[in-house]
């Protein structure tokens, strides 16, 4: 109202002789409040970047890239670790589905987010203080069985949510598959130790060498703790199911990999056969290669069906691992009580099976033999079911759970490879986080389903811790810096961007140790190395910042009514003058504005 009263009036001329010869202002034009013409109004929004929607941990990659680019490394690390506890680890081992989602892929190639995440983790390195809890101590305690990525993630998030966490681990060191399954040339043990040490310093209690060995122990934990999270993974190698597979000289790829961490040494000889096409097979093959053996992977389907990551397969081939496709083992050839080779059969691809991949069918009379000093089997891992109480059901080899890993026993949750989900580190982190939120809801008496509606990213099943914190507290440390900015769950696709503002550019490849260096004395040094600052910054600058304002000033520059003003941070839209033409929103390169219908005044 006061605005109305103070509104200036148009200048009044008594005679045409007082007027200028053309129509131009001789006093303020502020009386001409063109905002009354408007039927659409612009506003600033934050939409969900497509990379975030493609990441099982819902990592707000755009947010930390922006901070990282400004050189605010600790703030960037803080933003990244809201969702993902371990940038340094994930920047090494993640198969980076975010990069498949990245809209930059349409214009030269996805941003090398994986390399940047590693750079972020390494830039912080040893020096960073631990992530601080968001809440006061709740007085509730949670037991976690298993210290693999699912267990660690759940422990991390529950600690930040204010709960006391104890992790039970049967091995002598924490880390699970991160330590015993992933070779050091992909993830150095120093980095892993450092990240786990950070959790200890946050207050997570690790009970090592004290696994839960039977169902009774699990029931005790259920009594002693407010909640339990079971994340024992899938640690047992699937048997080959062929004669003489128990002979000396045949071992599981997983045991072989684990032996490096436990200190056991195997004499594998100079001719190693690896059976299988998954990541364990490729890891075992590359490890054997580093020990000097001649290595051949035998896989029963074709390369297109190999479940291992394409990058890993390529690296194995670069290092001289041979891959024989469409070969299935038939029996172990035994000489003097030791496996001396493998009799195999050639296969051809038939009709697609239930996994959608073409089923291998034996070719009659195509037997072929391979000599070996060691045979490593890696055709998949199974769950050790003996610690799970029999009242909890398994289906198709996975523990049956409800939403967010909740089992039939309401205070017992499960996640990671033990449940039905993709067996990757990032999916394990996702499961750990989802269960931590479900447990937090349980301990607060909150309705999980209603909460999930608010925290799920786009149409995915992934959840955002940032949005959960916003639900719990009304604000969030990571979401918009501007309280007027509306947060939208809509995912930004390439066609939502104004691509005219972006130029094509190729991604920077992650720096890689030359192949010859990988196979000499430095065998177990990491294959990938941290990027230089220059390389990193160039890659950071390739981010489109989909759905997020970067203060590029386009809205400010293009507004024909000068109705957009720059603030110290962000912009103000003067609705007294905005005509709602939409130029600002159209010229926004990154879909960080929206036009909405003018509210009807009553």
């Amino acid at each position: 109202m006061s605005q109305e009263q103070n509104r200036p009036k148009p200048i009044k001329y008594n005679s045409a002789t007082e007027m200028p010869y053309c129509d131009l202002s001789q006093a303020t034009m502020e009386w001409n409040q063109t905002g009354t013409w408007r039927y659409l109004r612009p506003s600033y929004v934050e939409r969900t970047p497509s990379c975030q929607a493609a990441c099982p941990t819902s990592n707000d990659i755009e947010k930390w890239i922006k901070l990282f680019e400004k050189g605010e490394i600790e703030a960037a690390w803080g933003a990244a670790t809201i969702e993902n506890p371990f940038p340094a680890i994930m920047g090494r081992v993640c198969f980076h589905p975010c990069m498949d989602g990245c809209n930059r892929g349409e214009l030269g190639g996805s941003v090398n987010i994986n390399m940047l995440e590693r750079a972020l983790g390494d830039a912080v390195g040893e020096k960073l203080p631990v992530a601080t809890p968001f809440f006061e101590k709740s007085g509730k305690s949670v037991a976690i069985i298993g210290s693999g990525p699912a267990g660690l993630a759940c422990a991390y998030h529950l600690t930040r949510l204010g709960h006391k966490v104890t992790v039970f681990e049967r091995e002598k060191k924490a880390g699970g598959m991160l330590r015993y399954g992933i070779p050091a040339y992909r993830l150095s043990k120093d980095v892993l130790d450092r990240e786990i040490e950070r959790l200890s310093r946050m207050g997570v209690e690790f009970k090592l060498d004290s696994g839960v060995r039977d169902a009774t122990k699990m029931q005790e934990l259920k009594q002693d703790y407010n909640a339990v999270f079971v994340a024992i993974g899938a640690q047992k190698s699937r048997p080959l199911g062929i004669p003489d597979e128990k002979t000396t000289g045949v071992m599981s790829g997983l045991d072989f990999l684990r032996s490096f961490e436990t200190g056991r040494k195997h004499n594998i000889g100079n001719r190693v056969l690896v059976i299988g096409g998954g990541n364990t097979a490729v890891d075992a093959a590359r490890t054997a290669k580093r020990l000097g053996a001649e290595v051949t992977i035998l896989y029963r389907r074709s390369r297109a069906e190999m479940p291992a990551s394409e990058e890993e397969i390529q690296a194995a081939e670069d290092e001289g691992v041979r891959i024989e496709m469409l070969i299935a083992p038939k029996r172990v050839i035994v000489k003097s009580g030791h496996a001396a080779g493998l009799e195999c059969q050639r296969m051809e691809l038939g009709e697609p099976d239930e996994s959608g991949r073409r089923r291998p069918v034996p070719v009659e009379g195509s037997e072929i033999t391979f000599e070996s000093t060691t045979i490593l089997s890696a055709i998949g891992e199974q769950i050790e079911t003996n610690i799970i109480p029999s009242s909890l059901r398994f289906d198709n080899g996975a523990l049956v759970t409800k939403s967010c890993g909740q089992t039939e026993w309401n205070s017992v949750f499960a996640g990671g490879d033990i449940i039905e989900q993709p067996r990757t580190v990032v999916d394990a982190l996702c499961a750990g986080k989802k269960s931590s939120i479900a447990i937090d809801c349980l301990l607060h008496g909150d309705n999980l389903d209603k909460v999930l509606d608010k925290i799920q990213i786009g149409d995915t099943e992934y959840v955002s811790m940032a949005r959960y914190l916003q639900h719990r507290t009304g604000n969030s440390p990571i979401l918009s810096t501007n309280s007027e900015t509306e947060l939208l769950n809509e995912i930004v696709r390439f066609e939502d961007l104004n691509a005219a503002y972006f130029t094509k550019s190729s991604p920077n490849e992650s720096p890689t140790l030359p192949v010859k260096d990988r196979l000499n004395g430095k065998s177990f040094e990491e294959v990938h190395t941290s990027p230089s600052e220059e390389l990193r910054n160039d890659e950071l600058s390739r981010c489109f910042h989909c759905g997020r304002c970067t203060e590029c000033d386009n809205c400010f520059i293009y507004c024909p009514d000068v109705a957009i003003a720059k603030k110290q941070s962000g912009f103000d839209i003067d609705l007294y003058y905005c005509k709602g033409c939409g130029v600002c929103s159209f010229e926004c390169p990154r879909a960080a504005m929206k036009m909405s219908e003018e509210p009807t005044e009553l």
Binding site: P10, Y13, P20, Y21, C22, D23, T34
Partner: protein
């Protein structure tokens, strides 16, 4: 020192614009105008003219850029033709009502469809109500001279000027043209210094919302400027003739002193009519020419004076208006304007109207003579007569 060269009409325009030290040129190519801006772009590229040459994506943008340049205090020029001029239509009002002294060269070309690149005045005459001054040229010398005078006139009265001539007949045809020395032109045409211009240190909102309380006054102020334009043109022309020894008026009378019938012409058809009149006079016909140079503002008083006061009261009986244009449903545009101007004048001649040369059809001395025969042999004008129509 001036020099004489054989120039096509379009290049006469280019050199006129160069001599006027135009500061901003924004144009979009269209036949038959293209060579004007081609030559200007080369003149600018050579550094012979210190102008900002703006490449645009349409005539609409060309006019918009020119308006903005003029508001910023720059002497601005554009050129177009036919459909291009039509595309500028909305912005022609912005230029005129915004009182921007822009000069636009329009090479007359027929409106499509039928798709045509040939001469016809309908394109420019159809813009008569946009508030622009319009000047029609007979020769390439007139083109160059009027281009220079146009800037001076525009800046004197704060109105935009359209200098118009026929496609191909002038635009692409070479004639001897005297090119004045730029130092002389500089004395004739001082730098552009507008009273109001875009200046951050003395800010104005240009062309803002104007309430009904003031709008009519702005129209009246502008109408007075148009009225003043007729005298202003004569003053400019007088100054020009003093310096460059070539005379120009709002209209010109040729062989009119003892004439019973006047042929009223505009543009290049005047030259053809001169030949026809020479031939007719040899046969003893009392015929003359009234050549109109200015269409807007319309020279009503000058026309009345010319037709009413010949040779101390000699009365013209009939005039034949030759229209290379058509306002469908209304007839020839010059003709209508002339009838309106003469209406109520007791000594007014009978006005006969003729369509000829539409869409670039050749106007020959015989075409003119056919019109003359018609006007001579009819007592009363009826409907517009189409000369050379294949019935």
């Amino acid at each position: 020192m001036s020099k004489k060269e054989v120039l096509m009409g379009n290049h006469a325009t280019s050199y006129g614009v160069q001599l006027a030290r135009t500061q901003v040129i924004a144009a979009y190519p269209i036949t038959p105008q293209t060579q004007i801006v081609e030559e200007l772009s080369e003149i600018c590229a050579r550094g012979d003219l210190d102008a900002k040459f703006i490449k645009v994506e349409s005539e609409h943008s060309a006019m918009a850029a020119t308006i903005a340049a003029s508001k910023a205090g720059a002497r601005a020029f554009t050129a177009t033709s036919s459909q291009g001029l039509a595309l500028m239509h909305e912005l022609l009002f912005w230029a005129a009502y915004g009182r921007c002294p822009i000069v636009l060269c329009n090479v007359n070309r027929a409106m499509a469809p039928g798709w045509s690149i040939w001469s016809d005045q309908t394109d420019s005459l159809a813009q008569r109500d946009t508030g622009w001054i319009q000047i029609y040229c007979e020769t390439n010398q007139e083109v160059l001279d009027n281009m220079i005078m146009a800037f001076k006139l525009a800046e004197t009265v704060n109105l935009p000027v359209m200098v118009v001539y026929d496609a191909f007949i002038l635009s692409h045809t070479y004639e001897p043209v005297e090119i004045p020395d730029i130092s002389e032109v500089d004395k004739f045409l001082p730098p552009f210094k507008p009273k109001y211009k875009l200046d951050p240190s003395a800010p104005y909102t240009f062309d803002p919302l104007c309430t009904p309380d003031n709008y009519m006054e702005f129209r009246h102020i502008m109408e007075e400027a148009h009225e003043g334009t007729k005298k202003a043109y004569l003053d400019v022309a007088k100054d020009f003739s003093k310096r460059f020894k070539r005379k120009y008026g709002i209209l010109e009378l040729i062989d009119a002193e003892d004439a019973d019938i006047l042929l009223v012409t505009s543009g290049s058809m005047t030259s053809t009519t001169r030949v026809a009149v020479q031939q007719l006079r040899k046969q003893g016909e009392k015929v003359g020419i009234c050549k109109l140079r200015m269409f807007r503002p319309f020279p009503t008083e000058a026309l009345k004076d010319a037709i009413g006061n010949l040779n101390g009261g000699h009365r013209i009986e009939k005039i034949a208006v030759l229209d290379r244009n058509i306002s469908h449903g209304g007839g020839g545009i010059w003709s209508k304007e002339i009838k309106g101007a003469l209406f109520g004048m007791s000594t007014a001649p009978k006005v006969f109207s003729y369509h000829l040369g539409l869409g670039g059809r050749d106007i020959t001395p015989d075409t003119i003579k056919e019109a003359y025969e018609h006007v001579k042999n009819n007592d009363q004008p009826k409907e517009t007569v189409w000369i050379g129509l294949k019935r």
